[in-house]
Subunit: 132 residues, 3 copies
Amino acid sequence: MIKILKVQSNKRIELIDITQEVRNIVSESSISEGICWLFVPHTTAGITINESADPMVVVDIQEQLNKLIPYHSNYKHLEGNADAHIKSTITGIDNYCFIENGKIMLGTWQGIFFCEYDGPRERKVLIKIIEG
Amino acid sequence: MIKILKVQSNKRIELIDITQEVRNIVSESSISEGICWLFVPHTTAGITINESADPMVVVDIQEQLNKLIPYHSNYKHLEGNADAHIKSTITGIDNYCFIENGKIMLGTWQGIFFCEYDGPRERKVLIKIIEG
Amino acid sequence: MIKILKVQSNKRIELIDITQEVRNIVSESSISEGICWLFVPHTTAGITINESADPMVVVDIQEQLNKLIPYHSNYKHLEGNADAHIKSTITGIDNYCFIENGKIMLGTWQGIFFCEYDGPRERKVLIKIIEG
């Protein structure tokens, strides 16, 4: 079964911590051992796992991505969000984490972040949990 | 079981839409719920899921990758394709998508693209489908 | 069951070939068909699959990442390793490979590399193998 997590972004570019929401979905599944798969069904967004302790870490990620892939350039896609598509390919749209004793196994400093690159919008993350 | 999808590239750098080929393989598997895993067994190629509606999106991705990782530079790998190896690591060589009701679940604008970074060549994508 | 592979890095930035260690863990599992999942529980490290024949390939990857994401810049995360966090998101922290006849299926030139971006440290890679 696929669960849908809704994410509301409030800025054009924003990394949103969804760790607790993913933990809740895993907890509701009652699966004690397995893998939790995350998939972003959008082309101007992404997902990443990185430090959640200091909120400045994801700000640095956003700013460096903006330096490498500027908002405005001589892009050929004319909808004004070509940079967001490129950022999506660079961070990727899927990530997984292991489940043990009913809980997702993240490192001490890790959190799961939805990467909004063309917000604000209402977005989705598809989540599938398989026992094993 | 692992299926092998053959992909023929025609340029040095080229993102090739393989969505229909993946759909066909999922359809032939007769699996109605599960996950479809894609793996590129090459070191100068990759895979990404991004917009397939406007073909200019993947052109922008290629051109920006070329700006960030130029074809020629003072690379230490002397086969003339060091940039292709670096691009491969940046886009990644694997992606998965969920299967529901016998079909892969992609977002409205999403397509699956084989990323050729050192073509033209005959390439492969390994595909594994697991029920669950 | 989750296996833990320990990796000792010796430099600040270093791509370490862990292919043989992963092969050994797959071999010990006695699983003949399935998928081997790798997950790095760190926020200043990553994982990638790329060429292992010429060791200069991963040197080029490191050097290009250093050009794109310099060690020192006006980062907001003040622990002196903001670049390592950004590099982690760009290469990613997970990768998988298929298992057939008890062996991982890699392309001719492929090896699995742990990416250290803030070493030297003792690191871990979590490995989970599922039959299927």
